[in-house]
Assembly symmetry: C2
């Protein structure tokens, strides 16, 4: 009886290992948001959206735009136009997105990598930990930020709005990133600065980690489901063991 139990346990362990190996579940993977998480671009995006919305006659307080950054551009424009009792045609919504992209491109010279962002990605690469970037932005805007970050989208795994049906808070971007890396989304760690990243992480059933570097408050991120909240990539790099990275390696 005891022997059978042991054998069963051993069999299950082996099976577990095989499954984990197949899905790469034994190695944690990191799926990063881009704006406000790796590059310091949120406030420029906010003012670029303000300009684009006002250009189409939509006046919205800037903090309300800030709190919507990171969600799908389509959802974003819909939500703000609904709040202001405006109904927008597809052409009007497209125009707003175009004016935003132009205004943001004008401000790109102000955008810097967040402290520790390059170091964190380098550390993960050296440790053999898979990572990807998944952003609600289109390659047109994301490409500029990636260049500042020193990430080549032809070499790294980068999923942009153009590649999936629905952007955040739908989990599509993170699911696509995990699939491309060949890792299990359920053992992956989603890192983002907005509640939309953390909602997408919950919908994808993966661990969410929040960063304050996009300008949300700590409680807002925790309430949205962040397992841990760090100040920025530099702070996260110093506390990687808290997210179980070493523990998983030690198994």
């Amino acid at each position: 009886m005891i022997r059978t139990k042991r054998r069963n346990l051993a069999a299950r362990r082996t099976a577990g290992r095989r499954i984990r190996s197949k899905t790469s579940g034994a190695v944690p993977a990191f799926l990063f948001d881009l704006d406000g998480t790796l590059v310091d671009s949120v406030y420029q995006h906010v003012l670029a959206w303000r300009e684009a919305l006002e250009d189409s006659g939509i006046e919205v307080s800037v903090w309300r735009i800030h709190r919507r950054i990171g969600m799908s551009g389509g959802l974003f424009v819909n939500a703000l136009s609904r709040e202001t009792d405006r109904t927008l045609s597809k052409e009007q919504a497209d125009k707003i997105k175009r004016v935003h992209a132009e205004a943001y491109a004008r401000m790109i010279g102000q955008v810097r990598p967040l402290p520790g962002a390059r170091e964190l990605l380098d550390h993960l690469s050296r440790a053999g930990i898979p990572w990807a970037i998944a952003t609600s932005g289109r390659m047109e805007s994301a490409g500029l930020a990636l260049k500042i970050l020193g990430v080549d989208p032809r070499r790294a795994t980068v999923i942009t709005r153009d590649m999936v049906q629905h952007a955040k808070p739908n989990p599509d971007l993170f699911l696509a990133a995990a699939k491309r890396l060949g890792v299990n989304i359920h053992t992956s760690i989603v890192v983002g600065d907005s509640v939309w990243d953390l909602l997408a992480a919950r919908l994808a059933n993966s661990l969410g980690v929040g960063l304050l570097s996009g300008g949300y408050g700590e409680d807002e991120l925790e309430k949205a489901g962040a397992y841990r909240v760090y100040q920025d990539p530099a702070d996260m790099l110093q506390h990687l063991d808290e997210i179980g990275v070493r523990a998983i390696f030690a198994e």
Copy 2:
């Protein structure tokens, strides 16, 4: 014995009334912050500070600047230079403040009154409730925002950085505003969007009310001592009775 007690109570009530009348304590007064509370200018200030700091070789993440907006410009520059291990001379600090003022003036065309700001001030004026504006900014920058808000500093009570020794989080600005209005600071209501306003309110021993319109999270403002938190001036105007305005009037 009972009679004496009653008489004493009556005497104290009369005295109380007299004291309240002398200090205008019976009428609540509102002491407003300006940027992020009445005008939608926080995000422009944030990027203007980013530009000024970088111009002097100080690179700070934008969210850290955002979380310091509303405090004294001197404290602000000191804090950020300490965080980045820089020691600044008075000339360097002055230069940063000057470049910020220039950059902000360039962006002033984007600044709008916050929803309900004018209506709230008009409502208070019509109801005979004293109000003042107390800002950590100097008249140079505050004047531009006041113009947008439609407030003439020669007619309304406006206290700027230039008029007191210490700006927020010291209570000097709000104390000076109450004194100028001839009201009791202890029965005044301080309204602000930042934790620095709320800290100053606590130090002044007056009631603090927070607004989300400067981009802080609700919990951040509550933790800093906000008795109530509203979205913006429009939301506050709709809930004025919650702050005891009607109740005090009904006394």
